[in-house]
Each structure stands twice: as C-alpha cells, then as structure tokens.
C-alpha cells in the first residue's frame, strides 16, 4: 500500500530556527547548555551563533507527502538517524522536505510487519545540503488492516 509512494516528495517548507524554540527544546531534553542558549557563550567559543541540539530537526515542518495518510495510533518508531554537514545555527532559515525512501515487509512478533523509511532533508538558503534524517516507522499487521478498512 506504500509502494506507490516511494520517491514521492513533499513541497519544501521554510523553517527558521528560533532562539526561544531552541531554548525550550534544550530544556525539555535536560540539556540547557549555554552553547544552545547563550549568545555570549557562542561568541566566546568562536561559533557564528548558538547551535541547535542534534535532535532539534524533529520540530521542523517538512511538508506533506501527498497520498501518505498514516493512522494516528499504533505506529512504532523503530529507528532514527540524523546526518549533518555542519551544526544548525539559531536564526538560520532552512528549506525542508521529506520523501518516502523505501517500504519493506517481513514476518515479526506481531505478524507481517511493515517498515516505512521516511527521509527528511534540510538545505540552506544557497541550496546546500545541511542535514538529512531518516525515520523508520513500524506498522503492525493490525494497524495496516485498519488502514485498508
């Protein structure tokens, strides 16, 4: 049911990394370090701005992939990865989009399990790749049957 969505990409959305959002996020993961929150600390360390924590890109809007309608309940987040060319800076604007990378099914504990790989991308204003993230979502047989119904 996901095979026909492979390679489908969302329309890019512009996301600006807001200082307050970074501070709140850093606090929520128990890591309110001045490298994320204090401009004077960034200056002192020779950074061009405060940076965002490595998992901060979960807060971005990557746009909607047309035809991808995942159920609200019953999804399992199996794996997650982030890959960076450089850290993300507070204040910068990124162009973000995502696509369905692949879909696999295999037998598991809960019957025939579906594995959906969604790749998210962030580019800077010059179109340079800055970050990619891959999320693996596991869908049990029951969840997929519910979707078909």
């Amino acid at each position: 049911m996901f095979e026909e969505l492979i390679g489908k990409r969302s329309n890019p959305v512009r996301n600006t990394i807001e200082r307050g959002a970074v501070r709140k996020f850093a606090e929520a993961i128990g890591d309110p370090h001045p490298v994320f929150t204090d401009p004077a600390f960034a200056d002192e360390k020779g950074l061009k701005a405060n940076i965002a924590p490595p998992t901060f890109p979960v807060t971005f809007d990557y746009g909607k992939i047309e035809g991808l309608d995942l159920p609200k309940a019953g999804l399992i987040h199996g794996e997650q990865s982030f890959e960076y060319k450089r850290p993300l800076y507070v204040g910068e604007a990124l162009r973000c989009y995502r696509e369905i990378e692949k879909y696999q099914e295999r037998k598991g504990k809960l019957g025939q399990m579906g594995f959906l790989f969604i790749k998210s991308t962030a580019e800077d204003r010059n179109g340079e790749l800055v970050m990619t993230a891959t999320q693996t979502i596991i869908l049990s047989e029951t969840v997929r049957k519910g979707m078909k119904g």
């Binding site: 709140k24 996020f25 993961i29 490298v35 924590p53 490595p54 998992t55 399992i76 997650q80 850290p87």
Partner: protein, 134 residues
C-alpha cells in the same frame, strides 16, 4: 576536557538521569510538537495496548546526545543513529553512556547506549563525532 585524546575502548563520563517524570514528557511534547497521547495520558496508552504512558523515543534520544554537548567547541555530531530497543516508563532510571569504537583522523565513532535500572538497553545507538581543524 577533550575528545581528541580518546582511544578505542575509552568511555565518556556516563550520565544518570533523575527518574523519568510525567512532567518531563509533557514538557517534551510541548517543545517537540509530538502530542501523541500515548506519551502523556495513561488511558490513551492503555487503549493502544501499552501498560501505561511511555516516553517519546525522541526524548530519550535527545537526552543521549547531551553526552557530547560539553565538547561542542572542538567538533560536532556528524551522525547520530539509534534503534529504539525498549520502552521507557515514568519512574525509570536511565543511564547514558558512550564508548569509542573507532577513530580515523578527524572522525570518531562511538557506541552510545541508554539503559534502564534493570540494565536493559532502551536505545542502542552510534554517534560519529567530527573534530574541527584536523
């Protein structure tokens, strides 16, 4: 305090988190925008077949990253990948640890783990650290 001097087999200073609280997860829901109620409301989690509310996997992953935060002046996380190997419940005591597996020039690959009070790994991960100026 530097990661430059680490040799394969060396560990970073591990971190023991205070017991996971419901408020931690409510705060993370707000800061991340992930309002799936299985992370904040017991009844919703039970309806989904879980014993009770469970932490966002991304909350635990976010916490794991802080092992490296003290070193951000000398490098950055180039790659951070995890498998969510077990569920985390309110009251759990998590310990975060990282061990250098491999070093090649400016690139260091660490095995990073979050384990609960029973020693069960709830996250099995890998962090590639890139040192500046090598």
């Amino acid at each position: 305090m530097s990661l430059r001097v680490k040799k394969p087999g060396d560990r970073l200073e591990s971190i023991t988190l205070p017991p996971v609280s419901r408020l931690d997860l409510i705060k993370y829901a707000g800061a991340s925008g992930d309002f799936n109620p299985i992370h904040t409301i017991d009844e919703a989690a039970e309806k989904a077949g879980l014993p009770g509310m469970i932490a966002h996997g991304m909350w635990t992953m976010g916490n794991l990253g802080k092992l490296f935060t003290p070193y951000v002046g000398e490098g950055f996380i180039e790659k951070f990948s995890v498998r969510f190997a077990g569920m985390v419940f309110p009251g759990d005591h998590l310990t975060l640890s990282a061990t250098l597996k491999e070093a090649q020039g400016a690139q260091q690959t660490y095995e990073a783990v979050a384990a609960n009070q029973d020693g069960a790994k709830v996250i099995k991960g890998e962090i590639v650290w890139r040192l500046y100026g090598e």
